[in-house]
Structures are given as C-alpha cells and as structure tokens.
Symmetry: C2
Subunit: 180 residues, 2 copies
C-alpha cells in the first residue's frame, strides 16, 4: 500500500479500558465493524490476540504494566503507519494508560464505566463466580485495583444502553472530534 | 488511511538475518530509504526500536526466541494491514525464523552472510573486541550458535560489495519477485 502524498496521518488508537465484563470488547468490536464498513484500515488488539505471542504474563502491577506497554508499542507502530487501532484492555493503572497516551500520537481513551455490581451480575465469562469461590485471585476490581481514568476522551456507562447505542456514542464522539 | 477497494495487500516483511557486524542494518536501512522514496509505507523494526518497550530480554535460546516471536508479531500486525516491514535481527535460530515466516503472509528472508572473520575485522561497534577480552559472553557466532538459514529468499555476501550494491541485490530480487 502506498502513502498518498500530502495525506495527513489521522490514524487513531481507540483504547477501551474498564473492568472485566464491562462491555469493552463488545462495544469495541462493533466500533471496529463500523469503521471497517466505512473503509478504514483497522487493526484489532486485545489480550487474546497478544497471548499467543506474549506468553507468561502475570498479574502483578509490574507484569500488567509491562504487558500494556508492549500492547501500546504495537498500537504505536500501527498508528504511526496509518493503521487505526481498536484496542480492548482492562489496563487498570492510570500511569500506564498515560504512558500509552504519550507513545501514540492520536490516543483516544474510552472508559467503559459499567459498575462492578453490574459486571458481576452479567458475568459473561463466569470469571466473577470463580473469583468469589476463590479459584481466581488478583482479579481487577475485586482484590486487585482498577484506577478510574482521570481524563478519558469519553466515559460510556453501559447501564440501560444497547451495544448499538454504546457504539453510537463512540462514533458520535469521533465525528465531533474531527472524524477518523 | 483508507484501504483502496480491491487493492490486494502486497505488504512484505523483509527480514534481514546474520551475524553482528554483517551489515544487516546498514543494507536494510538503505533498502528502507529506497522504498520510502518510492512512496511505499514502510516500518522499521530492530532490536533498538524494541528495546525501550521490551526490556529484560536475555540471551538464552528461549529468551532470544521469545523476543524474535514478539518482533514477528509486530511485523505480522503491520504487514497484515498493508505496511511493509523492514526488520533487522540477528535471529540466530532457524526454528524461530521459520515460525516468523509462518506468521507473516509475505515473509522474505535476506541472509547477510558476511563471514565471522570479516565481521570481527570490521567490528563497527567494538563488540567483538569485548567478546575476545571476555567482557561479553553468549555472543552469536563466537560462543553462541548462529544457524545458517536453510531457505533464505536471497543470500547477500557483502565481501567486496558496497552498501549500494548490496541494497541493489535486494531491490533486484524484489522486482523480479513481483515487486513491492
């Protein structure tokens, strides 16, 4: 693929953060779908995509942060070369999100702020049940911290919203912020 | 950046392997420069680019391989989205290079086969001197293995070749192999 001369690189990193079960990935996937339908060159990035190649990642603050920085590097490389990135990571620490923001020229943060009680009620992956029964430890929001984003570009509280409505908030934000 | 409709993704991963001091990075940089001049969307990838975000990489076979797989993942993500990658890594193990080849749709391997004696004579970074004085251990080609590539797309023996001549071999190969 050629760069078109004088075309400004507007590729963003759309970073979805929030608790497990908040709806990050579901919303982000719908946003990815809509962007692709618009003809945007989009890359998807999440823990599942990275796990195969970045194994042995632990759950200490240092290990979580190191993993997010690596994801941030992949996002930076892609967006620096004109590829829009849709990334879905719990990414619980403000300091690390701030570092990824610094690394990526057009980082745009979406805080999916579904409350813990609701995430636990939905428990799509059955993880909260395992946490409560003691099978899983160091689970973000329960016995491991989630630092609320200080300056997200948009907060999405999915309570009472459909996936389409949540994704529409993202798309509206993007079009009001100069497009994609 | 938009994908042009019906445009086939021809983005390659141009992977330069060889001993330290073989001339990999010098040739690869010249290739990158020429591709950019042609308007190709090119990303540069090497140990220095990755080091800041992928620290603590050791020199055991497992650690070296894990590092190369991560580089391969970045290369795969970029090339899957239309970005040509120029990568320069010693990448001493055949098994790992084969894995990167498998990961990347259009992996093209350039084996820069400058002999050890010549690399040591040039010793651009002064590393071989440190190896011989015992300051550096586990150095590829000296006390750590370099497995000769079995099926590189092109072998470049830089003996008696200028940088321009070496890079021209790469560019000739690419244009004979369907272009970039």
């Amino acid at each position: 693929m050629r760069n078109e001369t004088n075309e400004e690189n507007k590729a963003r990193v759309l970073w979805f953060t929030g608790l497990s079960g908040a709806g990050k990935t579901t919303i982000a996937k719908e946003v990815e779908r809509q962007l692709k339908a618009m003809g945007v060159n989009v890359a998807w990035l999440d823990g599942d995509v990275m796990r195969e190649y970045f194994p042995c990642t632990g759950f200490s603050k240092e290990e979580r942060n190191a993993h997010i920085i690596k994801a941030g590097f992949v996002a930076k490389m892609l967006s620096d070369h004109g590829v829009t990135v849709v990334a879905s990571f719990i990414s619980p620490y403000e300091e690390t999100r701030a570092k990824v923001r610094e690394m990526c020229a057009r980082y745009t943060e979406f805080y999916v702020s579904t409350p813990l009680t609701e995430c636990e009620k939905r428990d799509v992956k059955g993880l909260y049940a395992k946490v409560r029964s003691g099978q899983i430890k160091q689970f973000t929001g329960v016995d491991d911290p989630y630092e609320t984003p200080k300056n997200p570009e948009l907060e999405i509280n999915t309570m009472g919203l459909s996936i389409e409505q949540s994704a529409a908030q993202v798309m509206d934000y993007l079009s009001q912020d100069g497009g994609i």
